[in-house]
């Protein structure tokens, strides 16, 4: 279990992160101000699994060569952003 600071909305959170090999298990608390468009003011616990790797297209330095696809490791910030992007319609964070 490791932890590092990431940003979510205006909050700085310190998720607990477990390395599961090809994925991360991430758990943190965050304050929310809206749930399904209704104003609320409380703290929720978030638990999710995030793929550890992503594929990125790297352009070739040679304009005559094709770009290549590389697999790179995601940051915890990227995983938390990904979770929030999937839940933007459900939650508004403080």
């Amino acid at each position: 279990m490791s932890s590092q600071t990431v940003k979510l909305g205006t909050q700085t959170i310190t998720p607990n992160v477990q390395d599961l090999g090809n994925s991360y298990y991430i758990e943190f608390q965050v304050n929310i101000t809206k749930y399904s468009n209704n104003p609320v003011n409380h703290t929720i616990v978030v638990k999710f699994v995030c793929n550890k790797y992503k594929q990125v297209v790297v352009p070739s330095a040679n304009p005559l060569s094709s770009p290549t696809v590389q697999t790179v490791q995601k940051t915890i910030q990227e995983c938390v952003d990904e979770w929030y992007n999937q839940h933007k319609s459900v939650y508004e964070v403080a």
């Binding site: 409380h42 839940h87 939650y91």
Partner: protein, 148 residues
């Protein structure tokens, strides 16, 4: 050859694939309007035509909210005639639920714990009901059926 049927969300009245973020074998599924999470009671249906077995796989990839004792996610499986509860203890963590159906057997595995179910044969329609309770709950769920 093993075949796969996906569950479509029937609560919304749309043929949304029940997917929170990705399917390992169909990454483009998130482009179909199933992107998102479940916040309230939801039903979903798949229509396999199994001859030998059907294995329902339910991945709970994200859980958020706050849950008192007894609150969380409860899964029911039915064939349109009989409905039975798969997990008596509500789920509040990520994990996997698998249900194996054969002609004369029905058994579930809920996060590693085996659960006996009443045999329901090899239904041509499998209806999952997700009952969700808690404070500001949201569940990310992928579900599909592997069958032969």
């Amino acid at each position: 050859m093993t075949k796969i049927s996906l569950f479509a969300n029937t609560t919304t009245g749309n043929s949304y694939i029940l997917a929170s973020n990705y399917f390992p074998f169909l990454p483009q599924v998130s482009l179909i309007n199933g992107y998102g999470a479940l916040t309230g009671n939801t039903t979903a249906q798949a229509s396999p035509t199994p001859k030998r077995y059907a294995k329902v796989i339910i991945q709970i990839t994200s859980v958020s909210g706050t849950f008192s004792t007894g609150q969380g996610l409860t899964v029911q499986i039915g064939d349109g005639f009989v409905t039975q509860t798969v997990n008596n203890s509500a789920i509040t963590s990520t994990g996997t639920v698998e249900i194996l159906l054969t002609e004369n057997q029905a058994v579930a595995n809920v996060n590693g714990t085996q659960v006996s179910l009443i045999p329901m044969g090899l239904p041509q329609g499998i209806i999952l009901t997700f009952n969700i309770s808690g404070t500001s709950p949201s569940f990310g769920i992928n579900a599909w059926v592997e069958w032969e």
